[in-house]
Symmetry: C2
Subunit: 618 residues, 2 copies
């Protein structure tokens, strides 16, 4: 047993240390199968049957009462082994028929900086970097790769999209030999590396420009990419954040983002690499006095007119909502508007705006709503910003692992039932009796709605402390340059984003535009995202807006109080019990602050008291 | 000429380098007189006549048309020389009769950290420290000492009251030899050093407590103080910030501040040293839901009951207002309430909340109001937080030097006429023709009122960005723990601090309490400090509160526009011209932001438009 592997998250059914020394997913599958079966009381016989043509797909056939055959490509067999072991350990049903991943690239984006810090990281320092260099524990990397492979993820981008010196060296000769060793650690788990690159990288090497139409720039990227693939022939590709939040990009040279992305894609194409280009581009120096500019409209405006002009190995990666991972946003309209482009959905497991792995916030219920609405044709890849770090339990709050686990399941099959995913994680992780398992699952399943209630009212987000993004601050962004204003006044709150307002709703296909624009159909939870309402306006449930705000916030806090009581009853093992208890104390304080501050804010504005006579501090 | 002396501020009538090699103020006086007279076209004959009994006082007698005698103690003669040279150079009147300083200790408090950073410093890095050690240019220190001596200041506390490692070494054997060299540099200018000390210092040396009643603690301070005085026999004393904003202090041990101050005072007394104890003590972990606690009441509550219990070499140093150097505060009531205690007034030259030496903000008009109200009997010393740094011109904005210059004059004579002080500084510094001098003086004299207009309405302060304290943020502190809430709502704004409210006004002597409590006498500029008013309430000038807020903010911005035009017409020398012009661009942006954001904020709350139809962005 390797002590550097701190915690097995949802994998206690395997041996503690991940298999080392394997050179292919098939070998890993064999090793995992061996140790996994050894842990089972009544272990079945399992045969592995390679069918290279199946690639990452797999099929489990029950040959007799206690004998299975897993057929698949090398990676497919590995996924099948993990899934069979999960099912046997959890007493869950074994998926029938050929299991094929819905999304081709199932990516994890780490926002790790070379100094070891993680941007928006809430689980300790980087697993990959420290002190300006690669610095990792091979045993933990293998364990990490095993965690990801066990839920079917296949691409790991190890560095922050905001590439800060010296992370650009990941694609330079100086670092590449060591990076190749890292790639070799995860390769037997079916995982390919990806790097975030600095768009202006050529300018570090004597080239006077980063203009994508400049021959010297193009040649530099061709050569540099070839060098990278010499060391890491299966690199998944590059990830780019350009012209966003002070990052360099094609706009500097009067070029558009197709120019920029295609230039890089052409350098990757000979090696089968993908160029993933983030669409998180907006004016982050907006003047609050400017009521025309509406930040959620930015991605659509910057990209949709370029549809059809991208190389076929370009992927545009789009955040699920038009803002930035708020607790409640409508789906990004850009997903509907680029039928000729390979798109990727970007989720965020890191709980930046959603409790920072202090507050419990389980995402699958939110994803279910999202995937039901997401067009399937052009969204062919998926990415999530990681919630991982060097903490013993990898995710800070032990329950935050449920989001990483479920992300893998949804990335494989977006029709995954959220409660099944959460239950499977809970059972694999804790093996509670049925009553306790039900209690935990129920608490997790309700946690997002609870968080939403005590924080953001009805689609008005951003009432958060600037910079660190934890805790309430109703006007924290109100006069800032980031474009996320709430514009509440004494009469009401909300932004009119219909055609009588900023026109944002018109970016959707007509049916969705009508749906959101019509107060009769727009869901209450998004009413203030799309409409300015008066405090006395009546919502679909018969309550006034102001009363609904008060009710939600009081209820949200009360639900956290109940969660705290529930948590005490769960027979969690140590140290999860202590860690969860300590974080729950902070969640209680946070929820109380949110409740009181938001209610106070709107009470001062509206002058309306709570109809139920509860205490509003003013 | 020594190139390390960058700028002569108001001393161009002297030679560039300050005299070196002098060992007493008398020698310095002789050297300065020589070089000062050499610079005059029609130099008079000046005799110096030492009368040790006069100490720091001096008298200039005109013996004939072009001959003067200066009589005084050693330091007094030095002050007299500077004052005579100023008068001769400026064509100003020579003060008649014996000139005796009003305040005994005329202190400058530097908030310099050992790492070279200055807390709330806007003029570059520290003149004394860098990289965790003493590090200074002797020529600049002499020039600094000369600047201070030329306006009669006599105590220089070189380190931040928030004593951070390793600044505590200033009183340790390791640093003392070098500190003594620094003391020797300023001594010939009549300036004594002072150190901010770490109240918990003994705990760095194996003592388990900092309890002031503990014998080991008392003995440690006795010994350590004796050591310090071995190296610096004329040290002015120690400055302490205790039990404030997370600093350690006597409260930790259940003792009061007299216990703490007296323990240190007894260690200093054998050497004639003073113990200066800051009264900036309040609850900085207040819950905004707590409407009883009122931060401006804190100093009075913490100290007045201790009146009469302090050693006679203890000085309590009290900020001029009850909050923290806001643009407009009433005088601190604590000044009236401790008749048996030696008090010091604390001003802040560093423009923390008042434009950060970007915006022009000339303080003497504010001080005039203050000194007219300050009781003379117990306030016997004075201190100011410095606005100095390593910038070529010492004060960032060249005009900010007027505050340091005038501070010296007011510290010597609080009845100083503010315009005369400003004019004398302007004339010595720039030697403009009369029209330009008048223009500059008028601009400076009006700058505080202008700043007040575009920032804080009628005594409501704190509508500022937290942490760095530059720029508007109406609710920036509204839900924070610092106790500075504005509590505006849809009906009105202001805090009732009369007896119907928090009762703060009752801390004043009865006549002042009545004055502030009665809306008929309370000056408009402080109405919202003492009263909650409705937006439609009518002020003493006949305008409604909301219209007054709008008018002030629009006028404030327009006045900055005029200042910008005025500034262009002034024949400033380079680089002052360029520095002032660049900062004025930033002041214009700042004033525009303040004007628009504060007006927008109150318009959203009140629903009232500007009666004059000016643009309010909402």
């Amino acid at each position: 047993m390797n002590t550097s592997v701190k915690h097995l998250t949802w994998l206690p059914y395997l041996t503690n240390a991940a298999p080392a020394g394997c050179t292919s997913p098939l070998q890993t599958a064999q090793a995992e199968l061996l140790s996994g079966l050894a842990n089972l009381a009544d272990a079945p016989t399992v045969s592995l049957n390679v069918d290279a043509a199946m690639g990452e797909s797999w099929q489990i056939i029950q040959e007799s009462e206690n004998a299975y055959t897993i057929t698949g490509g090398e990676a497919g067999i590995l996924y099948g082994v993990y899934r069979l072991l999960m099912a046997l350990n959890a007493g869950a049903a074994i998926p029938q028929g050929v299991q094929k991943p819905f999304y081709g690239l199932r990516m994890l984006n780490c926002w790790d900086n070379a100094d070891g810090d993680i941007e928006r990281g809430y689980s300790g320092r980087s697993l990959f970097f420290e002190d300006g260099k690669l610095d990792y524990d091979p045993d933990r990397i293998r364990q990490l790769a095993r965690m990801l492979a066990s839920v079917g993820l296949n691409v790991l981008c190890i560095n922050n999209v905001n590439v800060r010196n010296p992370a650009h060296k990941l694609i330079e000769e100086e670092w590449l030999p060591q990076v190749a060793e890292l790639a070799a650690l995860v390769r037997p788990y079916g995982i390919r590396l990806m790097f975030s690159i600095d768009y202006a990288h050529p300018m570090r090497h004597g080239i006077q420009t980063a203009d994508p139409l400049d021959k010297a720039v193009q040649d530099w990227w061709m050569e540099q990419t070839a060098l990278v693939y010499k060391y890491i022939p299966d690199l998944a590709g590059f990830l780019v954040k350009a012209d966003s939040e002070h990052r360099p990009g094609p706009f500097t040279y009067g070029r558009n983002h197709a120019d920029g992305a295609n230039m890089l894609a052409r350098a990757l194409k000979p090696f089968g690499g993908m160029l993933v280009w983030r669409c998180f581009v907006y004016n982050c120096q907006q003047d609050w006095r400017d009521y025309q500019t509406d930040r959620p409209m930015a991605a659509y405006q910057h990209y949709t007119y370029l549809d059809g002009t991208f190389e076929d190995n370009v992927i545009l990666q789009i955040k699920h909502g038009p803002f930035d991972f708020q607790v409640r946003e409508p789906i990004s309209p850009t997903f509907y508007a680029m039928p000729k482009t390979h798109l990727a959905l970007e989720l965020q497991l890191a709980q930046e705006y959603t409790g920072q792995q202090i507050d419990i916030y389980t995402m699958p219920p939110m994803w279910k709503e999202l995937f039901e609405q997401l067009p399937a044709e052009t969204v062919m890849s998926i990415a999530a910003v990681t919630n991982l770090g060097r903490d013993d339990n990898y995710t800070g709050h032990p329950f935050a692992a449920v989001n990483l686990f479920s992300y893998g399941l949804f990335a494989w099959n977006p029709a995954t039932d959220p409660e099944e995913a959460v239950r499977l994680w809970a059972r694999l992780t804790y093996r509670f009796d049925e009553a306790n398992e039900n209690t935990l699952v129920k608490m997790l399943m309700g946690s997002r709605r609870t968080y939403e209630k005590y924080t953001a009212p009805l689609g008005i987000c951003w009432m958060v402390n600037p910079n660190h993004h934890y805790g309430p601050n109703p006007e924290g962004y109100e006069y800032a340059a980031w474009g996320c204003y709430i514009r509440a006044d004494r009469n009401g709150v909300g932004i009119d984003r219909t055609e009588t307002g900023t026109g944002y709703a018109k970016q959707y296909p007509e049916e969705w535009c009508r749906y959101y624009s019509d107060l009769a159909t727009c869901p209450d939870e998004l009413k203030l995202f799309f409409h300015y309402l008066h405090y006395e306006d009546v919502l679909s449930d018969g309550r006034t807006l102001i009363q609904r705000i008060y009710d939600d916030h009081f209820e949200g806090y009360e639900e956290v109080e109940q969660m705290a009581e529930t948590l005490k009853t769960l027979p969690l093992p140590s140290p999860d019990k202590e860690v969860a208890a300590e974080r729950m104390e902070r969640q209680l304080i946070n929820a109380r602050n949110w409740c009181d501050i938001v209610n106070n804010y709107f009470c001062r504005l509206s002058g309306v008291e709570d109809a139920k006579g509860r205490k509003i501090y003013h």
